[in-house]
């Protein structure tokens, strides 16, 4: 009897992998290729006129001052969004782990929000954060004009960052709870006997030991924040006020889907893809360098 986990022959493994490959080709490679093609052409919405223009679409987008404002909002949104999600999820996971008896209940409760779609959440939060009704409107009655996300770009940005973090925390929480669980209890008990308090144990034992998982959730959050967050922006702020929350993913969506500007939107999407690759490469490089340094220490 063979014990190897490998399939023999050429066709069997290929056949088993085929459905996945077809799906990836259909939903990723084909649209990406189409996007690249459109980004090099001036393309009519109805497809009857297509003219090759080389890199003109890129030149035009890169020459547009509002692109840089959009890049800045993307950076602020992604960095704040990722930091907030990971920090909040870690805090929650740590508390659940710290108090194991009630932890089990909270573990389930905290996973629930994962089932809420981004756009639904956007609608709910828009109502909750409305300056005219709801709890925030009460603040406005106490101190007039203190909460006006329809005019104040920073407040609007805080709002979408909070909404984004809300969507990410449950996933991060699941991963981090599992990670904290995997740390042998002896280490923590030994540290406690030496007099280390809960916070000291977190900083010196738990966080260093779950660093790979922290890195993993941060990467996943980053990818989501750059590519998949336009639904939140669309339902909450539509990129406003005055373009303050017009992150790149939302602009690409808006230009293509509302404006029928297939060429410009494709060029933006390609730029977005490059940006994402660069961000992930940087993240991996930083992580690896740290791992190496620690290895030598």
């Amino acid at each position: 009897m063979k014990t190897s986990a490998r399939f023999h022959g050429r066709w069997m493994p290929l056949a088993l992998g085929l459905p996945q490959l077809v799906l990836i080709a259909w939903f990723f490679y084909w649209p990406s290729w189409k996007g690249l093609w459109w980004s090099l052409h001036l393309e009519c919405p109805f497809g009857h006129c297509t003219r090759f223009v080389g890199l003109d679409n890129y030149r035009r987008e890169l020459g547009d001052a509002s692109l840089y404002a959009s890049l800045l909002s993307t950076a602020v949104f992604s960095l704040c969004g990722v930091a907030l999600s990971v920090a909040a999820a870690l805090a929650l996971a740590w508390m659940v782990e710290f108090h194991r008896r009630s932890g089990k209940l909270f573990r389930y409760l905290l996973i629930w929000p994962y089932a809420v779609a981004g756009s639904v959440l956007g609608v709910i939060l828009r109502a909750a954060a409305s300056p005219g009704i709801g709890p925030m409107a009460y603040l406005n009655r106490l101190w007039p004009h203190v909460w006006q996300p329809h005019l104040d770009g920073a407040q609007a940005m805080a709002l979408v960052v909070a909404a984004f973090a809300w969507t990410q925390i449950p996933f991060d929480f699941i991963v981090l709870v599992a990670a904290l669980r995997s740390i042998p209890a002896d280490y923590l008990a030994a540290a406690a006997i030496d007099g280390a308090g809960p916070l000291r144990r977190l900083l010196d034992i738990q966080i260093p030991m779950i660093r790979p998982q922290l890195f993993f959730v941060a990467t996943m959050n980053l990818v989501d924040s750059i590519t998949n967050s336009f639904a939140i922006v669309d339902t909450m702020t539509q990129g406003g006020p005055g373009g303050a929350t017009g992150i790149l993913a939302y602009r690409a969506y808006r230009d293509g889907f509302v404006g029928l500007d297939l060429s410009g939107s494709s060029a933006l999407s390609m730029l977005l893809m490059l940006l994402l690759l660069a961000a992930i490469a940087a993240q991996f490089a930083a992580m690896e360098r740290r791992a190496r340094q620690e290895g030598f220490r």
Partner: protein, 442 residues
């Protein structure tokens, strides 16, 4: 996500099979995509049911596809996939895209080919003007049409000592101040959309939005609004906003302009005649409707319109078109127009329908009467409204720049200059995109 998309595809395929099965026995199945929800969708569904009941040989499937933007986007995707509906409702600012698309069967030709007599001259002038191509032909059939009017809450105005609705912007500002002095928290409400603040105000003043007859004379048109009447008006708007006289709809309890007036919170609202349905439904008894104000001493021209028209895609089986023509003719019947008008506040489209509406026992609803009267004022080269490329994106740019001005991050003059410059880049690209095509003249 992938699983859900694949499931939807499968469901679509099954549905198509199921829908195709009875085709053999019946004459024609026509798919009609419309772009409304709520009250308006109910009225459209009623029209469809009426047609299907009276035309047993035809069957029209009326499907709501969401907002105007979503409907246009889905129509584009369906056309590119070779599966467009026979009929689709497209909003006013999509007209240039549709005219240039080379994907449509012109409605005037469709009606002629199928023996449906249509007298284009029977359409109200403002409506025909808006949708007509440069040679006067109608490539689509006007449908949900509205224009801008001034709604006032009679009780609140009278309490503040204002005798009637203001007819000039100067009187409008005085009314706002009187209302505020009388303790009104929301003298007027606005959602700061360019259809109301740019298209309509400029049309009423007979002032250009863009060169080349607002874009109707060709693709070389460029925006030209940043230093005319629009600048004067937007400076006023900025001042009213800064002084708490004109509230953004988001600050009201309703959070929405038509509702903020309909629920009695705000005293004045410049809004579409199409919002009359919401005002009626709210049961507000004090609603008074007047024309859009103008500046004192300036000539007052006819309003332009907004809304949608119905387009026919080419490339469907031949049996579909006679049925589509019958459905369009049915929608155009004065009786159906009246029904739709009365339910929604959209305007009747033809003179005959207008006459019948006037003569009906209830008379015309106030918003419709005022709207029709505003459109009937004499026009000039710019009263027909703008026909420009990428207008949906331009409107977003205008809103973005104006929001920055309202927040105090730039002056209103700069906002309009920026919006104009950015809009002109869009127009240049639209021109370049369609430069080599057959219909480079709209």
């Amino acid at each position: 996500m992938i699983g859900r998309a694949a499931a939807r595809r499968l469901a679509c395929a099954l549905w198509a099979l199921a829908a195709a099965a009875p085709l053999a026995g019946r004459a024609a199945e026509v798919e009609f995509w419309y772009a409304h929800g709520g009250l308006y969708a109910q009225a459209i569904d009623e029209l469809c049911d009426g047609f299907n009941a009276t035309h047993p040989q035809d069957h029209v499937h009326c499907l709501s596809q969401g907002t105007y933007e979503q409907t246009l986007r889905k129509a584009v995707a369906a056309y590119r996939a070779g599966q467009p509906p026979a009929l689709v409702e497209i909003y006013d600012i999509g007209t240039a895209d549709m005219l240039h698309s080379e994907a449509i069967y012109p409605v005037d030709a469709l009606m002629k080919d199928n023996g449906q007599a249509v007298d284009d001259a029977d359409y109200l002038d403002g409506i025909r003007r808006y949708y007509a191509a440069a040679d006067g032909r109608l490539f689509s059939q006007p449908f949900g049409t509205s224009t801008l009017v001034l709604y006032g809450n009679r009780g609140k105005l009278a309490a503040a000592g204002i005798p009637g609705l203001p007819r000039t912007w100067e009187a409008f500002e005085q009314a706002l101040r009187a209302l505020k002095a009388h303790g009104e928290s929301c003298p007027a409400v606005a959602d700061f959309t360019p259809w109301k603040m740019l298209d309509q105000v400029n049309a009423a003043a007979g002032a250009p939005i863009a060169s080349a007859g607002n874009g109707r004379d060709g693709l070389a048109a460029r925006y030209a609004f940043a230093d005319g009447i629009h600048r004067r008006y937007m400076r006023d708007v900025a001042r009213w906003h800064a002084q708490g006289l004109l509230l953004p709809a988001v600050l009201t309890h309703a959070g929405d302009q038509p509702l903020a007036f309909a629920d009695g919170e705000c005293a004045l609202s410049l809004d579409s005649t199409g919002s009359y349905a919401i005002v009626l439904k709210a049961g507000i008894v004090d609603a008074e409707v007047g024309p859009l104000p103008a500046y004192a001493g300036a000539a007052r021209y006819g309003n332009t319109i907004g809304g949608s028209s119905l387009w026919v895609f080419k490339g469907k089986p031949a049996a579909v078109y006679p049925a589509a023509a019958r459905f369009l003719a049915y929608l155009r019947e004065p009786r159906q127009q009246r029904l739709f008008s009365a339910r929604t506040g959209y305007l009747p489209l033809t003179r005959e329908a207008q006459r019948q509406l006037e003569a009906s026992p209830l008379g015309e609803p106030a918003a419709i009467r005022v709207g029709l009267a505003s459109m009937a004022l004499p026009g000039n080269a710019y009263s027909a409204g703008a026909r420009l490329g990428f207008m949906s994106l331009f409107r977003l740019i205008w809103q973005e720049e104006v929001q920055r001005a309202l927040a105090g991050r730039q002056s209103m003059d700069d906002a309009l200059a920026h919006a104009q410059a950015r809009g002109n880049l869009l127009l240049a690209r639209f021109q370049a995109t369609y430069a080599g095509t057959a219909r480079s003249q709209p």
